[in-house]
């Protein structure tokens, strides 16, 4: 138990959300500082844990299902935990200033922010958990936790239908693909008997099983990382408040996808097919994302497509494989996270100061915001892989990995680097350079808390460009965890004509060419992007969703359109089907009329009374009387149960009839009296058809019951078995034991339905009555 400290980062990160919510409950303004403090603590614990060399905790969780609570603080966990907590801290500091402003614009109370901090910290906690989890089921649990947190955060502006639709889209795309992850995990478990990733990595052999299950898991990761063609949810997720976007893109949601791939990479790399598919999806995402980023006008949209493209690189490098590919992918994640979070926070600050979020209406802000311009300039340079920033090395590693696979892939890499440079130049120069834009006349001051995180992150980008050592060590440690063997890479400046340097120079030249020639072909590029919106995957998503909605509407319509037809639709087919069964069964000796004993006369009497009440119900028109007549039939049946020696059933029948009558009458009270009265006066419609349907259904039901009761009871029936088991369940009453124990799951399902009905009633009728 000496390694319990391994849990420290996880505990700090998981505690942050409830602690912040509790503080916020006491005083809303406390939520952010408490959350930020715990995030900082978790960051410190992660750093310390990494310094201590990591460790493993592996305890049984659900042994019968071979699920283990296995967490490890290895290189990969350290990388993503540091990102999640470190950038989480920066984002929380930024939010503490940004969110009150945002809520102010939206006219919402400050207390709404408490939920925001809760979910962003839950996000952080589940990211740390995901980073450390070694068991596929545990991974799945944390995976879905991030999806839930993202749903709330993206839909934070819940009065905005667009935000709600975007949140649903993110949840559906990542949630449905998460099920694929679960299926993949179960397939692997079925074949190898374990969910543990390290054990699987030792046992798995290449083959169709690995290809299929690996592909399922990979699709979950790719969808979460917004890789084409499942990329469309990410730009939509920009409906979230800016700090959320920054976090989502750099250290949380999107990073979770490549984290998963990195975690199961020891399995995946055994299959050539999987590696090739990574190349394909990564390349498609780089091109689609990079190209669309060039065409976007809204700041956050541009950055969103840039994220798709950047994670495309990461996936591509995983596909390239080899030590450069795997360690490079991890390094790329670090470099991108630092730059991208700074750029998002810049976009938020600029929009906050000017009230404008489109490039075409911004410009020339460098004089008004020199600090922000410089800091975000460093971050942009980092993304564009300019020397003296950490980004230079990410491209150096990309070129190195691509070169190992031949000149064609290397040429592609150069083209993509140029694309990145071009769109990020467009972003930065569009905001800060040139003539002041139309939308830049607002005179709002920028609070320091909105600039400081950008400065810190920008400074880190520059520090990484000079002192690359710690970042490299982290990436190598992560690469080692993914690659299952050391991955020494030496990113450094070399002042000679080695291929990587030449490729970087070529990328700069090509990037400049794209920027300069952009006005000439921007129009056609826009056209292509419009076409993509028309026929792209988002359209398919829309059509699917709309089709499902229509199906649900139709089912609802068919169900509630007409009570009479609905009852007939159940009674008639049921009667006919049962009747066909009765007619097909040999009937000799199946129907017996038993003898009637004198003591059973009261039973007959009760049955006759029930029959009379049922018949009377068909002729009764006033609604309240009808309710009473029906309950009369029910009470008579309760008497019958009592005669049969079933006190439990009789008790329940009496109680149910009583409470149902009350509820029935209460329901009638909702309808104005005149309406009820007029209804009761209306003539019966199609009485013959109704009678026919009832008779058919009733006759066959009668035949079936008669036939069933004519059979002698089986020797060892289910009932007998349950009766025998009752004492073992510490019970003397079999009915209760059945309800609470033997068939407890049924009871659970039933009470859930009851609770749902209550929820429906409360939602439909609560708050101001019948609308």
């Amino acid at each position: 138990m000496t390694t319990l400290w391994v849990l420290l980062p996880l505990l700090a990160a998981l505690l942050a959300a409830p602690a912040s919510a509790l503080a916020g409950y006491l005083r809303p303004s406390l939520a952010a500082p408490v959350g930020a403090t715990l995030a900082a603590l978790a960051f410190g614990a992660s750093l310390w844990g990494w310094g201590m060399g990591g460790g493993v905790i592996d305890v049984a969780w659900a042994p019968t299902w071979e699920i283990r609570f296995a967490v490890a603080f290895d290189g990969l966990a350290a990388l993503y935990a540091l990102l999640a907590t470190g950038i989480g801290f920066a984002v929380l500091v930024y939010s503490s200033r940004y969110l009150p402003l945002h809520l102010g614009h939206e006219g919402r109370p400050e207390s709404d922010g408490v939920g925001f901090y809760f979910f962003i910290l839950l996000f952080m906690g589940s990211m740390v958990g995901l980073a450390m989890a070694q068991d596929l089921i545990l991974i799945f649990v944390f995976w879905d936790l991030t999806a839930i947190a993202s749903y709330y955060l993206i839909g934070f502006d819940r009065h905005d239908p667009d935000a709600r639709a975007s949140a649903l889209m993110a949840l559906l795309v990542t949630g449905v693909t998460a099920v694929l992850l679960l299926i993949g995990a179960l397939m692997l478990h079925a074949a190898y008997g374990t969910f543990s990733v390290p054990e699987l990595a030792r046992m798995v052999e290449p083959g169709p099983l690995l290809t299929v299950s690996g592909l399922l898991i990979a699709v979950a990761g790719l969808a979460k990382s917004a890789q084409a063609p499942l990329h469309f949810w990410l730009p939509r997720a920009m409906a979230a408040p800016t700090p959320v976007s920054a976090y989502l893109h750099s250290a949380a949601m999107v990073a979770a996808g490549v984290l998963l791939i990195g975690r199961v990479y020891p399995l995946l790399q055994k299959s050539e097919v999987l590696l090739d598919s990574f190349l394909l999806f990564g390349a498609a995402s780089v091109i689609v994302g990079g190209f669309l980023a060039l065409t976007r006008d809204v700041l956050k949209q541009l950055l969103a497509y840039s994220t798709i493209s950047q994670y495309g690189y990461v996936v591509y490098m995983f596909g390239l494989g080899g030590k450069y590919g795997v360690a490079g992918a991890s390094f790329y994640v670090i470099a991108h996270a630092l730059s991208k979070s700074a750029l998002f926070l810049t976009a938020g600050a600029v929009t906050e100061a000017t009230g404008e979020d489109r490039l075409s209406r911004l410009g020339g802000l460098r004089k008004r915001m020199p600090v922000l311009a410089a800091a975000s300039g460093a971050a942009a340079a980092g993304l564009g892989a300019v020397p003296l920033t950490i980004g230079f090395f990410k491209d150096e590693l990309l070129f190195g990995a691509a070169l190992e696979r031949g000149p064609a892939l290397a040429a592609l890499a150069v083209l993509w680097a140029a694309l990145t440079l071009a769109y990020i130049w467009r972003f930065w120069s569009g905001i800060f350079l040139g003539a002041p834009g139309e939308g830049t006349h607002g005179e709002r001051q920028l609070p320091a808390a909105l600039v400081a995180p950008v400065v810190v992150l920008g400074a880190l980008v520059l520090v990484g460009g000079i002192l690359v050592g710690p970042f490299e060590a982290l990436a190598e440690a992560a690469g080692k965890a993914s690659f299952a063997s050391p991955t020494p890479v030496e990113p450094a400046y070399h002042l000679d004509a080695r291929p990587e340097n030449l490729m970087a120079l070529a990328a700069y030249g090509l990037g400049a060419l794209i920027v300069l020639s952009w006005p000439a072909w921007s129009r056609s590029a826009l056209g292509v992007s419009r076409l993509g919106e028309r026929v792209g995957p988002e359209r398919i998503y829309d059509l699917t969703l709309r089709g499902l909605n229509r199906l649900s509407d139709w089912a609802h319509w068919a169900e509630v359109r007409d009570l009479r037809s609905r009852v007939a639709a159940i009674l008639l087919p049921a009667g006919v089907l049962v009747g066909a069964g009765v007619l097909a069964t040999p009937s000799a000796g199946a129907y017996r009329v038993g003898e009637l004993r004198a003591g059973e006369a009261p039973l007959l009497l009760a049955l006759a009374a029930a029959a009379v009440a049922s018949l009377a119900a068909t002729r009764t028109r006033p609604h309240v009387t009808l309710a009473l007549v029906l309950s009369g039939a029910g009470f008579m049946l309760a008497v019958v149960y009592a005669f049969f020696g079933a006190p439990d059933v009789a008790l329940v029948a009496v109680l149910v009839e009583t409470i149902l009558t009350l509820l029935f009458v209460a329901t009638l009270k909702l309808i104005p009296y005149e309406v009820l009265h007029r209804q009761a006066e209306l003539p019966l419609q199609r009485p013959r058809r109704k009678a026919l349907i009832s008779l058919v259904a009733a006759a066959f039901a009668f035949a079936v019951v008669w036939g069933a009761l004519s059979q002698p009871a089986a020797e060892e029936s289910v009932a007998r078995k349950l009766l025998r088991l009752t004492p073992e369940a510490h019970a003397k009453d079999a009915v209760t034991a059945i309800l609470a124990d033997f068939r407890g799951l049924d009871t659970l399902g039933e009470i859930t339905v009851v609770a749902l009905v209550l929820l429906g009633v409360a939602t439909l009728l609560g708050r101001g009555g019948t609308r």
Binding site: Q685, K732, L739, G744
Partner: protein, 187 residues
């Protein structure tokens, strides 16, 4: 909810508290006298459920009937002076959570859903007829849910009825009434 405008015909009796109560002295007296016994019987049914007839469901309905009797005798505003009536809906969900909790708790120990403790065959602590086993807790959840459902639904209906009782709602009521001309069928 605010009482209906004075002088509107068809307004509910409790719109004017000074008006003649809708129920007789006898009914009110009996209702008041029966509340405590009903709750006691419910508690008895719940506690003895494992030994004799009755279970959480029956207990919940009996308790709800005792409370609903107050509704019938005194009207909504009087009945809502009981705290359980005001919090009936949350109570139902507390019950559901309790039952789901009991059902899911064994997962944490690696057992199947709804494994009850102590396991079959081992010793059980008795408090009178009450046995301390998790199945009883499950039943308590059912009790709370059923009670909360019955009382909560009637409370919501009563509030909605008062809010929609005036003339302004009559129009929508007519349309809705005509929409279900086949009214009167029940399982």
């Amino acid at each position: 909810m605010s009482p209906g405008p004075p002088g509107v015909p068809g307004a509910t009796p409790d719109a004017n508290p000074r008006a003649e109560p809708a129920t007789s002295v006898m009914a009110r007296k009996v209702a008041r006298l029966l509340l405590l016994p009903a709750l006691l019987v419910a508690a008895g049914i719940l506690v003895k459920g494992y030994a004799e007839s009755g279970d959480g469901f029956s207990a919940g309905v009996v308790a709800a009937l005792g409370v609903l009797l107050q509704y019938l005798a005194f009207g909504r505003e009087e009945a809502e002076k009981l705290p359980v009536v005001r919090h009936a809906v949350p109570l139902a969900f507390v019950g559901l959570l309790a039952s789901i909790g009991v059902a899911a708790a064994p997962l944490l120990f690696g057992d199947a859903v709804l494994t009850h403790y102590p396991p079959p065959g081992s010793k059980v602590v008795y408090l009178g007829t009450l046995e301390l086993i998790t199945a009883v807790l499950f039943d308590v959840g059912v009790f709370l849910l059923v009670f909360g459902f019955a009382v909560g639904t009637v409370t919501i209906f009563a509030r909605a009825g008062e809010a929609g009782g005036g003339h302004n709602r009559a129009g929508t009521g007519v349309e809705r009434g005509e929409g279900r001309s086949g009214e009167g069928t029940r399982e």
